[in-house]
Amino acid sequence: MPEPSSNPHALPRQFIRNFSIIAHIDHGKSTLADRLLQATNAVSAREAREQILDSMDIERERGITIKASAVTVFHHHKPGAKTDDLETDYEAPIDDSNPDLHRPAPGRKAAPEDHGDLHMLNFIDTPGHVDFNYEVSRALKACEGAILVVDATQGVQAQTLVNAYLAINENLHIIPVINKIDLPSARTDEVADEIEQTLGFTAEDCLLVSAKTGQGIKELLAAICEKFPAPRTQVVPQLRALIFDAVYDDYRGVIVYARVFDGKLKVGDKIRMMGIGRSFLVTEIGKMNPKPYRLPHGEIGPGETAYIVAAIRSLKDVRIGDTITLEQDPATEALPGYQPPRQMVFCDFYPATSEEGESTDFEDLRDAIEKLSLNDSSFTFAPVHSEALGFGFRCGFLGLLHMDIIQERLEREGGVEIIQTAPTVSYHVLVRGKDTVTGAGGQALRPVDPASPFRTNVPDHFQLLEVHNPADLPDMGHIEEIREPLCRVEIMTPKEYIGDIMKLCLDRRGTYKSQQFISASREMLQFEIPLAEIIYDFFDKMKGLTSGYGTMDYEVISYKPDNLIKLDILINGDPVEALATIVHRDKAEFRGRGLITRLKEQIPKHQFEIPLQAAIGGKVVARETIKAFRKNVLAKCYGGDVSRKRKLLEKQKEGKKRMKAVGSVTIPQEAFMAVLDQGD
């Protein structure tokens, strides 16, 4: 047993703990993180913002964390103790450039050592939504333990389970924590039963905590040090560090978050990204506390996490999951990495004009998208042209929430105004022959990545193509089958809503899989549902049906062929590609009718009659007509009316300029969004 060190940056690995906090959204993960930071004195109560780890505005507003970040704090723990003293009694050693670091704070008698051995706690924040499961799993890869937070009033929810499964898959030690026990509506015992029922932890395993009042925090800190395993010993002498996150900083370029498994890394080292094969010179190594600080010795060893600055210009030069080694003495084998993020939901973004008449052009949009992609490498974009909407970008997202966040960030941070088309999932289209098949823009359609686990059953003399834009769908005559992503969906619901949820899932082409008892009042339903049926408003519907009590999570598990067809929308006889969708044959008529009904509400009357049609391969399945207006003139326009009426007409003109032209029909931007509303 090595001697405990008083130098926080030269701790033997036995005193290092790497862990994440995982939870269903709003179960108090961020508040608990804050409380831990505060208890270890990294943040004073005054400094603590409500949710310190969530640094982006959008995250704070949505109450979720979308970018993992790692924070290091120090804590003293006596071996075997079930509860620890809090660091509020003495200064935490965060900056060892201070020679008085370990001196007791003024007025304090005890030396830090009296409280036990110094431990370094690296905790790695995780995003709280299904779209970012891949981020959760990559964060977990850098950990040995996970704190599973369950709200004492809400109980086990869909995401609680999915996150717990992810942690179990990574062989992490889990400490279940029941949070918010101070609330009058807390039903702590019942929730403990639910945890036992669903995950097999006994009531004794669960720690009872109130992140808000601080109750149970001392016990949690003791458990972190006691129960979470120390990092494994190194297995090779060469440096191997796993990149679990990367963010772009305007001044320093890409900042990489890495966990060292083997070897050592120091400032001045020339590193190589084993997967990408690029090399960089390390200029800074530091930690977040939660504010960043440079490591004075500029060195980290096995078991530690840190951020690394190495003059990396673009996030494209970094792949999350890649292994960092040394250029001079490289490891031969990379660490097991991650599945690269897979874009499952696609839509187009086109430049639009705001109500104030501010126009965004294609270049503005491109700049904003490129800038954002420096910060978020998990969405894809490619230029696209639409007759109605001009030049724009086809973008791929991990899921619906991810799409919303990107759109919002583009508008907010990029200052651009966007028209977004209806989201489409990524389809796999099986076509006969090996000839190159081209999409609507003449571009070759990409075959499905041979490494994709979803590329199965491709017979000889066939190819499997990826299509995520209805316009790109080859002629139906050439298509052998269209496969769509299928999700396993877990829905946790109070029992009284089970019938409604069953009906919703079945209406969405769902297949019932199982039903699991959670507690006397709640059950978990498992269905398999095509992703395409989920991406519109499934979540809202589910919430509505369960009076807000239901929770859900989903994961794409396979691709499955079905009777899918392209539904065209014709305005005044012209097909509008931006409004086309891929739908199940049985739902085409219903979907088409809904769509043109909403379009009819959105498109203003013109001086001529406008037929609206939904059609499958030339066969009209639904039809509506926008009647021509026959009067549009103000009765009076005398001397005193000129200015006011001209301004009125100018306003109408500006409104009209915000519209897009399809042939001689002008369509408001909003109409392209009408397809987003399923409305059924």
Binding site: F608, F629, A635, V642, S643, L649, K653
Partner: protein, 425 residues
């Protein structure tokens, strides 16, 4: 929602007077100064505020007719140099209810006009001097006075001849008084008359409307203004509509009424020369034509709007302000718009297309091109498209709206304004 970024009215109220707007343009002493040939006078008094009316008026409980007339004469004195020594062509006295101004004040006003302006063209019958009259307030004495002062045209607000519909509009006159008023005017020697009618009144049928039109024609009028009822913001009528007190006329009904008016009036020799105005050839309202042809005019009285040398402004619409503030006679103004080439072309299209006579395209296109390069070709293309759609008639240099197009004049103006702007603005 309208965003008002301008100063609160109380602050901007007295910032400018009509003097500044007038002096910004060529003045009476500058060479080549084009004299202004039209004058509008606003008399703000009413018996009662009609529920559909959004003109500035007040029920004059404090009897401010005398100070008002004094003030008005001072304003006319200040304005008169801009008419130069050239004869005025048109005067229009509107309101409010001009006929409510008592005879003694009218006498002073008419004297002042004769003293300050050259009325020779009007007196020779080659101009036009109109006074709006409420049928109830027309008296032989007033008509006589007006005639002597040079008035040669009265415009009578009949609105409807059916008491039920008048009640809906909150008009309380006896329909029979319209005939009486016209008789009195004719007897006094005022040769020209116009009747105002309103249609698409809630509950009114096309047949009711036809009867109103016939009644007006039977009175021998040569000029009719037929206004489809408009729910102007801030009027009692609009508030009642919002409260659901009645159902507005269906668009289909309103369109039928337009048809009825056009057919009936044409058959009786009154053609539509503007969206809402019908006249025998030669009997058109010259003063209003000056507005629609974008001519200049001077304006006096609270809320009156003027257009001189590309400037537009409006006298501040409150009698108290009008009475208490005077910049050597000039009134406090608001909504002053400076000359702007694009705006001028837009306005020309907006008002010109309302007219049967239409627009002269060569000068329009030339001015448009000068205001915004490339717009001439875009406007011509838009005109060709409109012609193809059957709403615009292109007859050599003249662009005019067809019978169908004239009811779409605003939408068409918006189209042309967009063409004037061009893409990417």
């Amino acid at each position: 929602m309208r965003q008002d970024t301008a100063l609160p009215q109380a602050q901007q109220r007295h910032r400018t007077s009509a003097r500044e707007a007038l002096e910004a343009g060529p003045g009476p002493h500058s060479p080549g100064f084009p004299p202004v040939r039209s004058l509008y006078i606003h008399i703000p008094f009413c018996f009662h505020k009609c529920h559909y009316c959004d003109f500035y008026s007040l029920v004059d409980t404090r009897d401010r007719q005398e100070p008002f007339t004094d003030r008005l004469i001072r304003e006319l004195t200040a304005l008169s140099p801009w008419a130069g020594r050239a004869p005025l062509e048109t005067i229009f006295v509107g309101g409010g209810t001009p006929s409510l101004l008592r005879a003694e004040h009218w006498a002073r006003l008419l004297d002042a006009l004769a003293r300050l302006f050259d009325l020779s063209t009007i007196r020779a019958g080659r101009g036009e001097f109109t006074v709006e009259c409420n049928p109830e307030t027309v008296t032989p004495e007033l008509m006589d006075l007006l005639r002597k002062g040079g008035v040669d045209r009265v415009s009578i607000g009949a609105q409807s001849f059916q008491p039920g519909h008048l009640k809906t509009l909150e008009r309380w006159h006896d329909p029979a008084n319209v005939a009486r008023a016209l008789d009195l005017a004719r007897t006094a020697g005022i040769p020209r008359q116009s009747i105002d009618l309103i249609f698409a009144i809630p509950g009114q049928t096309p047949e009711d409307w036809r009867r109103d039109l016939s009644a007006a024609l039977d009175l021998g009028t040569e000029h009719l203004s037929c206004y489809s009822l408009t729910y102007e913001p801030g009027t009692a009528m609009t508030a009642r509509l919002r409260r659901g007190e009645f159902t507005p006329a269906e668009e289909e009904t309103e369109l039928q009424m337009h048809e009825v008016a056009l057919n009936l009036l044409r058959s009786r020799g009154l053609d539509r020369y503007e969206v809402s105005n019908f006249a025998r050839p030669g009997a058109e309202c010259r003063h209003n034509l000056a507005y629609w042809r974008q001519r200049d005019w001077l304006a006096a009285g609270p809320s009156a709007s003027a257009h001189v040398a590309g400037h537009r402004w409006k006298n501040f619409p409150r009698l108290d302000d009008y009475l208490s503030h005077s910049d050597d006679g000039f009134a406090p103004i608001t909504d002053h718009e400076l000359p702007d080439a694009v705006r001028a072309v837009s306005e020309r299209m907006m008002t010109g297309l309302r007219l049967r006579e239409g627009l002269s395209s060569p000068s329009l296109l030339r001015d448009a091109e000068a205001a915004r390069a490339g717009s001439s070709a875009r406007l011509q293309a838009a005109a060709m498209r409109l012609a193809g759609e059957g709403t615009l008639h292109i007859d050599g240099p003249v662009w005019s709206l067809t019978d169908r197009g004239i009811l779409l004049a605003d939408a068409i103006t918006v189209d042309l304004m967009a063409a004037l702007d061009g893409p990417g603005r």
